[in-house]
């Protein structure tokens, strides 16, 4: 039996049948976009699941001030072990930010996107943020510019954003209901006053929605980020997803709350639970019926540099870039050649996937889908030892093929070991992070984790080392079918019909 691998153009090439996201017939969050928008975003590492393995991004930390307080944020500390939004090591002036961007662009030619995301709110620091954008759009025109905002100052900034050729804006929208908002945002600073509670949240929500409408009216692409906070806004985010899509946001990114007591945030100290990996995935699935969902977000620091999931910021500190002598004209020529090569490779892969999809068999047997965790260091190949994997890629195998679902970190957002944490072993944490998966595919695995995984109901498999993820998963899925492990579940009948 040959199962197809669905790809970039799955939705477009699948005529009829069950083609909605909720039934899992496409793995691609950009599949439903109009061609003009897809062309704009398919090479953006933060928007395109397949591009993020090839193209890199960086954030410059030029925006320290903030105009609101969120219960998941603490403005006080930076921990060098942490990787999460709002955390930075070094604040930059616009001048330094431009220098750093050029240095990174010359050293990492696949870096195509520069974002300003904090550590405060970029639009609460309009002079620093816009000075950085103005200079970069003049001096490094081959770099795409993005900004991420809480939205409070967005309406007054739209004109200026359009001027600097910013074509992507991310707004963090956690709610539409001010009563829920008051549980997330204790205050906002608005018209020279600090405004607390429901009233403050109401102002923020109005500004966010107004900003979203103004941006999409001008043709500026908007992605919406939402933080999933169990018991606070988890159910409500389904409504948020519908509304922001109706207003023209092209992508919705539901991210898990990060809340640890040692971060000193309100939620961390109040022991507000974060969602488990499968709770997050279930909500992403629930939202995806109405929205293009993003599933590969890594919740970067506000000064991250490199491919998603890696941070090369330490190579580009101010004292190091001061010693680099960058000829940007020359660098741009080299960068263009590298981009051309990557684009050709990506196009070839996309075409290959589309071709495989085109001759997909249509008859369905009603088999249930299976989640598998993959240990890979990149390249779409199973090539990592179980114990070396800092994160697993979660894919779903079904009769429709293989689709990417999420990343799950094993060391979460913190690389500290003895000094922080609650003593739970890395292995126990990893197994917890893999909840819902039935198979782990890796190049090799040790005796101890093998036993513990089996005990947890997850089948380790080291037989497919160096094979592509798709091939290996389809082989394992076929084996499971042959062993009679894929009997249809009652709830999947509607989907198969």
């Amino acid at each position: 039996m040959e199962l197809p691998v669905l790809g970039q153009d799955a939705a477009a090439t699948h005529g009829g049948g069950c083609s909605s996201h909720s039934c899992g017939t496409t793995d691609d969050q950009l599949g439903h976009l109009p061609d003009a928008i897809r062309a704009k975003v398919q090479d953006h590492p933060c928007y395109s699941e397949d591009a993020h393995h090839y193209f890199a991004r960086m954030h410059v930390a030029v925006a320290p001030a903030c105009n609101i307080q969120c219960h998941y944020c603490n403005r006080k500390y930076d921990c060098s072990n942490e990787s999460r939004p709002g955390v930075v090591s070094e604040l930059l002036t616009p001048e330094q930010a431009v220098m750093k961007t050029k240095a990174v662009a010359a050293a990492i030619p696949q870096m195509t996107v520069l974002g300003i995301a904090g550590p405060g709110d970029p639009l609460a620091n309009p002079e620093r943020t816009f000075e950085t954008f103005r200079r970069l759009s003049e001096e490094a025109p081959d770099i795409k510019l993005c900004v991420s905002t809480n939205g409070l100052a967005l309406p007054e900034s739209v004109e200026e954003l359009a001027k600097h050729n910013i074509d992507h804006v991310t707004i963090t929208i956690n709610c539409l209901d001010p009563e829920i908002g008051a549980k997330i945002y204790p205050w906002v600073f608005w018209e020279n006053k600090r405004i607390f509670g429901v009233e403050g949240a109401r102002i923020l929500i109005e500004q966010q929605q107004k900003g979203l409408e103004m941006l999409t009216a001008r043709g500026i692409l908007v992605k919406v980020n939402s933080v999933m906070i169990p018991g606070v806004n988890d159910e409500h985010l389904k409504e948020v997803s519908k509304v922001v899509k109706a207003k023209g946001a092209f992508l919705h990114n539901v991210m898990p709350l990060i809340a640890e007591a040692e971060h000193g945030t309100f939620y961390g100290l109040m022991e507000q639970p974060s969602p488990t990996a499968d709770e997050l995935m279930a909500l992403q699935e629930a939202c995806s019926g109405d929205m293009n969902m993003m599933r590969h977000c890594r919740q970067c620091r506000a000064d991250a540099v490199g491919l998603l999931g890696e941070d090369r910021g330490a190579e580009f500190t101010l004292d190091k870039i001061a010693e680099m002598n960058i000829d940007y004209e020359k660098a741009m020529v080299m960068r263009a050649a590298v981009h051309e090569g990557i684009t050709a490779e990506l196009d070839a892969k996309r075409a290959e996937k589309a071709a495989k999809t085109a001759d997909a068999p249509k008859a369905k047997k009603g088999l249930r889908p299976v989640l598998m965790a993959i240990a890979t260091s990149g390249g779409g190949v199973i090539n990592q030892h179980f114990g070396h994997a800092k994160e697993f890629q979660i894919y779903e195998a079904s009769e429709d093929g293989v689709r990417f679902m999420s990343h799950r970190k094993t060391d979460l957002y913190c690389s500290g070991d003895d000094t922080c944490g609650d003593g739970e072993s890395v292995l126990q944490k990893t197994i917890k992070a893999l909840a819902g998966c039935e198979v782990v595919l890796c190049s090799k695995i040790g005796y101890e984790p093998w036993g513990m995984l089996e005990e947890a109901g997850i089948q380790p498999n080291g037989e497919h080392g160096m094979e592509t993820i798709e091939e290996a998963m389809l082989a394992v899925y076929a084996e499971m079918e042959a062993a009679g492990k894929l009997a249809p579940r009652a709830d999947s009948a509607a989907c198969a019909a």
Binding site: P64, N67, H71, D78, N125
Partner: protein, 106 residues
Amino acid sequence: MSLVINELCVNCWACEPLCPNDAIIEAKPHFKIIADKCTECLGDYDDAQCASICPIEGAIVDEFDEPLNPPGSLTGIPYELAVQLIEKGRIAEAEAAKRGPREYLD
């Protein structure tokens, strides 16, 4: 009559552009209010602007060293816990100061 920024300040720049008297200056190890220039915003705004945007409880105090944003007032963290955190922050600051000059959130 003047407000004071103390060592709890994290140098986030939020207050500096808001001051109607240009009394706030960037300084090491943290921002400062020039006492002669500060009017506590009397005549300009209902609320002192720096204290209305400052995200750090206890970082801005009046002439009696009373914080304009007392522990827990901005974060919603219960008072006792907030007091402990501020104390911890103070100790961390003192230790960092001993290690030498600091940049933002070093």
